[in-house]
Amino acid sequence: MHQGKTLNFHKLSTAIPSAALAATNERLKALRQLTSEGAKIGRDISRLAADLRKVAAPQQEPFIFTSDLETNERLLRSILRDCEDVIYRTLALKGGRALLVYVHGMTDEAGLAKFVIQPLLECSVTIPEPGADIESYIQQHIYAAGIQFIEQPSSIIGEMMGGRTLLLFDGHARVALIGTTQFAKRNVGDSKTEGVVRGPHEAFNETLIDNIALLRRRVRDPNLKIKILNVGDRSGTRAALAYVSNLVKPGLLEEVEKRIAAVSTDIVLTSFKIEELISKHPWSPFPQAEVAERPDTLLNALYGGRVGIMVDGTPLALVVPATFLSMMQATDDYTTQPLGGMLIRMIRYLSSFLAVYLPALYISVVSFHPGMLPTTLAISIAELRSRTPFPSILEAFGMIIILEIFQEAIIRLPQRMVTAASVVGGFVIGTTVVEAGLINPLLVVVVAMTAIASYTASFDFAVGFRVVRIFTLLAASVLGLYGTLLALLFTTVHLCALRSFGESVLGGLFDITLLEDWKDGIVRVPLKLNRTRPKVYGPQDRTRAGDDGG
């Protein structure tokens, strides 16, 4: 470098244009501003922290209520900052001030005014001295029905966010929670997914309390217990375990509680999330908890010794353990004459079989074993099929895909469009595809039959059927009847191995010790001949009668 070479110095900015002095100054200024703003935010944060730290809060709690109303309000405001739907209402009372804090829209404000604010303002008694008994003062002067005193500040905040009103008095650290919850909700309506012909029509709605009331209204049994739990680490969703204490199988309730306690998730918006998180076989296509949308279905299950899980925000309660037999039952089985009930139940079994195996059987017989058909039928099928260009397997898969698309589209569509979609789907596609000779009419019948048959089972189960149907069809298209039978075996073994809270989903059907459950399983015998509860759920008392005092 030094050896006879000239060193040329240039301004840095010629090499790096962004290093020009003016530009650098500009950016420096911006940086300074950022730093100063950052410092301001930092100061804010430290002030907030200091506010909170002023009060010696115990472990696990963000703060603690003090006897100074100013401090309390400041603490609440700092915790609930940016929650602009929280209302603070200060009351000037005889002997001091009081503060009401509630969430707008979750609270019955008229009731609050009439039963809390009015009596307090009109009260001639002085607020007790600091340190004196504030609870009896509140109990004496507030008309509202539900008043509760809780120690934990975090629970108090949680309750307030759930619609209750906080009442604080100057000079007192004791906080009253007043039950004034009222919010927009759907009324109790007809069942959407579990329709019946002759049974009661009321179904659960999204509100847990209403649902519990629907249960209570039907049985006046103090042994029907409701246990409220919180699930969802952030949402704090309330869930209720319903069970009959002197019937439920020993250990079942504890197991349910254990599994729900082990659920670790942020928010719970549907009961299915609970179902999925507490079931042990997440890869199974079949549900491992039964769904009850109707209070009578749930009660029936509870009085069989099972446990119900109701989740706030979902109109569908879960019932565990669930078995194949229980999932194939419907209220209508019990609201018709036993023989009629037996017939419709048998039809349901038949159609669940058809829903899974009919296309596979069709493919096996037509493509692999046409010798099994009666000759005249074989001839008509061959003549139908002689126009269609595709192998029957492609045809069947095509049809099933079309079917799945229709089903999905119709569920997603707005109500008004459904008719249009049905017309386009049914007439235009269905008819034209047949007329154009792309798919033979018999297959259309087979697939349509399959679809209709799968609607007789509960929706959860039907989705499982759809999965297994495709799996079976694949097996049939490679191996014919042999493949169909392999798939049947595979499905049966899987369903037997599948356990819902200890009970095999299908295995009970083949268990000789549970043979008497067939009385209300495969068949439905008249109630006079079947006075016992199903054995499989292990109820403490098997006789369907009153409590014999034990």
Binding site: V366, S367, F368, P370, G371, T375, T376, A378, I379, S380, I381, A382, E383, L384, R385, S386, R387, T388, P391, S392, T431, V434, E435, A436, G437, N440, P441, S477, L479, G480, Y482, L486
Partner: protein, 404 residues
């Protein structure tokens, strides 16, 4: 985790290893198969299509290293009419629903396989209805070697009808049923009416029963089918000594045989009226019980036959006999019993003349008197024609008709 994975892998491998064990699972769409409905077997120089030249016969066949061109095998194959929403109208009314392919050779299976050269689709025999064998073939060869192919092949079903025909067999394949059904199905179905028609001897004569008879070293019977112009009819039986063709029995003999074997329900028995001679009465059988018992007395073997029949008087020609009179009714019953007796003895005589054990005397003896059977087994062919049958018939008329 590893353990579980290994278990899963094992289960999967087990499933995969099972696949080759599955055997016959060829996937071939139904419409890609040609359904063979009937097979006809003629001698090589018979069974030609009307106006078919020797050149065509040569074109149909193949070069054969061993054996001779002994037989002519014809297949009746179903022709598909594309049905569906697109093609309406009754165009299929007069159309022949089947077509016939022929071949000459000695091995039936070889001929069938060679015929794939004439067929656009694979030939498929699982829906085959009838096999028709011409008398000429039967006179030339025993039955067992001809039918061996049908016994062994997996696609052949036991319920295939086997017919013998006195003329050529192929014209029966060309027969166009007036009902519009495919020919093979029609030919099979006319044999099914044997329950009500005692003249048709098709009960227990399908391929499965023939196999059974041959396996048991018993005599084979098969229905005879005739075609004359546009008339196709099953009439009588072709009878065999073991599997050697022995001749035919007529309808009257068939009815007698069926009285002995008790395989019919609802036969019509006609007898002369005892009250008004020269007129004819008919009785429709309702109930029919038969008991055939072998007896051995020293070296003498004879059979007794008890027939109990109940029937309805179904037709009276000429003057009406007064059936309210018990004497008349008894006389009528006697007349019918006489007729049955005559019919049975005719059938037995005919069978014994031909030498075919159509009445199952042999198997009865084997079942009831196994020791005797062992003794006479070797000489059965000589003993059978001389066996006597003592028949007692009891006929009861239950209904005499509403108006009389």
């Amino acid at each position: 985790m590893m353990d579980r994975l290994r278990k899963l892998l094992c289960a999967f491998l087990l499933l995969v290893f099972v696949l080759p064990l599955a055997g016959c699972w060829d996937r071939r769409e139904l419409q890609e198969r040609n359904l063979v409905l009937a097979i006809a077997l003629d001698l090589a120089d018979e069974g030609l299509k009307p106006g078919q030249s020797q050149e065509t016969v040569k074109a149909e066949t193949f070069v054969q290293p061993t054996g001779s061109k002994r037989y002519r095998l014809s297949l009746q194959i179903l022709k598909y009419e594309a049905k569906g929403a697109g093609s309406k109208g009754g165009g299929g009314q007069g159309a022949r629903k089947t077509f016939v392919l022929s071949n000459t050779g000695e091995s039936l299976f070889e001929m069938v396989r060679d015929m794939l050269g004439q067929s656009s689709r694979a030939l498929y025999f699982e829906h085959m209805q009838v096999v028709i064998i011409s008398e000429a073939v039967l006179r030339q060869t025993n039955l067992a070697p001809i039918l061996d192919f049908f016994f062994r092949d997996a696609e052949m079903r036991s319920r295939i009808r086997v017919y013998a025909t006195p003329g050529q067999a192929r014209p029966l394949l060309e027969f166009k049923p007036p009902t519009g059904e495919p020919g093979g199905i029609y030919l099979n179905n006319i044999a099914r009416n044997h329950v009500k028609n005692a003249h048709i001897g098709t009960a227990r004569t399908d391929l499965g029963h023939i196999i059974q008879a041959l396996d048991n070293d018993a005599d084979v019977i098969m229905p005879r089918i005739d075609i004359q112009d546009e008339v196709v009819k099953i009439r009588g039986l072709a009878v065999f000594r073991r599997d050697r063709f022995g001749g035919y029995l007529d309808e009257y003999a068939v009815q007698g045989i069926r009285f002995v074997r008790g395989t019919e329900r609802g036969a019509i028995i006609t007898a002369p009226c005892p009250v008004h001679p020269g007129e004819i009465l008919a009785l429709e059988l309702v109930k029919h019980e038969t008991k055939l018992t072998p007896h051995v007395a020293g070296d003498d073997i004879y059979f007794t036959l008890d027939i109990n029949m109940t029937g309805n008087l179904s037709e009276v020609h000429g003057a009406q006999p007064n059936t309210y009179d018990y004497k008349n009714k008894d006389a009528l019953e006697q007349a019918f019993a006489q007729e049955v007796l005559a019919n049975v003895s005719y059938a037995v005589r005919q069978s014994q003349t031909v030498g075919c054990d159509t009445l199952y005397f042999g198997s009865k003896l084997k079942a009831h008197e196994p020791e005797t059977w062992k003794r006479v087994k070797e000489r059965w062919d000589e003993i059978y024609p001389a066996i006597s049958l003592y028949t007692s018939v009891n006929v009861r008329i239950r209904n005499i008709g509403v108006h009389r």
